[in-house]
Amino acid sequence: MICFENVTYTYPFSATPAVRDISFRVRPGELVLVTGRSGCGKSTLMRLADGLCPGYFRGELKGRVLVDGKDTATLPLRDISRQVGTLFQDPEQQFFALGVEDELAFVHEWRGQPANVTRERVRHAAESFGLSGVLGHSVHELSEGQKQKVGLASVLSQQPRALVLDEPTANLDPESTAELARRLRTLKESGMAVLVVDHRLYWLEGVADRVLVMKNGEICAMGGFLMLEDEGLRRGCGLRSCRVEDVRRTLPESGTVAFRHEERGLRVENLCFSYKGKERIFDHADVFLGPGVTALIGDNGAGKTTLARLLTGLNRAESGRFFMNGREIPDKALLGRVAVVLQNADHQLHMKTVRQELEISLQLAGRLKRRDGPAKSCVPFTSGELMALFGLSSLADRHPQSLSGGEKQRLVIACAFAKNPDVLILDEPTSGLDGGNMLLMAEAVNMLAVRGACVLVITHDLELMKISCSRALRLPLRRQADCAEGKQSIKGERV
């Protein structure tokens, strides 16, 4: 169905090819997994398969990419897209409409399907992916996992003959990931050719028929899934583990520790919050974040990012009391003590170079410290240390906006470290990172925890959880009354 024949492709204005001499085939009813270090050419391979290279991005193509026996270089993109459905890593990238229902309907409307056929396909797609409850919402309102489902539902509703998925599990919880694996197996059995590009490997065990490992734009290994058990190959190509232990149930619970004056960390009591006109997401809930690394676990759309925003004061709680290191602080002061890195690296980079970005972050941290008083006694970082810690030293003079997605992610987290915060909240810090960078991130987070910080990691990444997290905060949260027994005795002792 998809066939690469000695393909070498070079982007415009680039001196070196992004991929070199690639030959492989994805037959109907087969799933091929492509993996490798960030920047090894996986995404280019995907763009070649769906015709975006060279159809949209131009550039120079040598060799042939065939879809259903036809050379993509001679086909218009609209014809290729009828055969090959594509799901991007950032699903928002492929949304044209702003509403969920509209997005599901859009392609059918544009292909001139009768209204009743479009309606039926939208209904079926929404039911298959459990999206019926959010059909009327804006795509901007959805969690990342929900967006991914909308993207996939939209692609599959077009009934393509081949599917190309770019890191489809980057923002999915493990249950949704397992469900996606089941769905792909069914699609494969129905004769669909599937090409998956991903750093996470474990979920495709028993589903992938072949694995291609790429390095510097070339295929360096090809074989069955068992090939990934070779640790030398994994280390050499920056791959993640092929089997992962699910530690979500075994991590001890955070947030049930009784109040103490001398405690370190962030405590929230009686937290209530709901979005306007919606049901309460947090109803008299209690949260405690102690020193160390805590994983925030919950299903897609359970309110993890909302909790992060409440803990930083970006959203105002309807009610609730916040205590930092045993002292009550107003929610307005939270932002000075808590650093948060959300999943929007593009919006956070302003300066001309990576070094300047870090240096201004350090200056801002110094200003905050003068305003709010020193939070901790430990020595602040320097820009050089931060660059070394996050593997950015070689990029010191690059423009931050010219970095790759993974490099930007590391830079914005480094900027948050510059604040030397009491509490650091990271929202999916390792989504889209290869094995090597994931380990780098885990080491950095552990190092901050050793310095006494409380780190809350919102993540579905089981590998990161296993390596870094010592306890878990699980959503939905408990109601205050449910864990009040121990607390009644200490009410009078509050600061």
Binding site: Q113, A285, Q348, L349, L364, Q401, L477, R479
Partner: protein, 276 residues
């Protein structure tokens, strides 16, 4: 133990961080007012308000148009979105005023006065007032259907629809950028803006510029993959319905235009010549 959130992980209605403000879809009660108008009536008001203010050169006439269009945008009840848009427009107007002042210093034959800028600025504000209801509440499909119905060429109606589609995304980006500045600890007060204007411009506009470039590319890729093409057959699954209230909206727009012309004829003579 009681469970607080009852949201299932799939059909969850839990929405993300204050993004409602920029949503472009239907189910909110405060959007009902605007959504109750057909896209064609809203488009008529927008197009009419794009051309008609050119004919009105007096402050009095423009003031009438501004008042009427301001009431129209307020009927959205999206006050924060309106406030953000006005803040952005104010920034651009200040920049324009500074340049005009600079030119007047270099070319004395072109004197600078704030009053001379009032009419062009009001024209800009009227445009903003009529575009916001269109951009924040209409579905891209409705817009494409309506634009196609006008038998405009593909190269006009696709960019037109994309521009309207882009506005909520752009506003969403503005909000995210200002929020990340707060997170990083930047002081966004007026004092800081006057002390370090270039730095503030860099902080606000660098990420916006790059985001806009990325968004435009993403939209282009999305359009290509969805097979948008010249001559394609577009069949909406929801048909637009012209109601009595749409006729009323069009009539009110025409009435505001007539009133503006009357005010210009009645009091416009007192306007400062430079304002014309």
């Amino acid at each position: 133990m009681k469970i607080v959130s009852e949201q299932g992980h799939e059909a969850s209605s839990c929405v993300l961080p204050g993004r409602k403000m920029f949503s472009g879809v239907n189910p909110r009660p405060d959007e009902e007012h605007s959504r109750s108008f057909d896209v064609r009536s809203r488009m008529f008001v927008t197009l009419f308000s794009s051309f008609f203010p050119i004919a009105v050169s007096s402050f009095e006439g423009q003031a009438v148009l501004f008042d009427a269009s301001f009431l129209y945008v307020l009927s959205l009840r999206r006050y924060r979105a309106v406030a953000i848009s006005y803040a952005a427009m104010l920034g651009m107007m200040t920049l324009a005023a500074l340049f005009t002042w600079g030119i007047s210093r270099l070319v004395p034959a072109m004197p600078f006065s704030f009053r001379s800028l009032t009419v062009p600025y009001l024209r800009g504000a009227v445009m903003l007032n009529v575009i916001l209801p269109l951009a924040l509440t209409c579905r891209i499909q409705e817009l494409l259907t309506a634009l196609k119905g006008l038998h405009l060429p593909f190269c006009i109606y696709i960019p037109g629809a994309v521009m309207i589609r882009f506005i909520p995304t752009f506003m969403h980006d503005i909000r995210q950028v200002s929020e990340t500045l707060r997170i990083r600890g930047y002081d966004l007060g007026f004092g800081e803006m006057f002390r370090h204007p270039l730095m503030m411009l860099r902080l606000l506009f660098t990420p916006l510029l790059f985001r806009s470039l990325r968004t435009s590319e993403e939209l282009a890729v999305a359009a290509e993959l969805k097979g948008l093409e010249a001559g394609g057959r577009f069949v909406p699954f929801r048909s637009p319905v012209w109601r009595g209230r749409d006729t009323m909206l069009v009539l009110l727009a025409l009435a505001a235009a007539l009133l503006a012309l009357y005010c210009q004829a009645r009091w416009g003579a007192s306007a400062v010549p430079a304002m014309r």
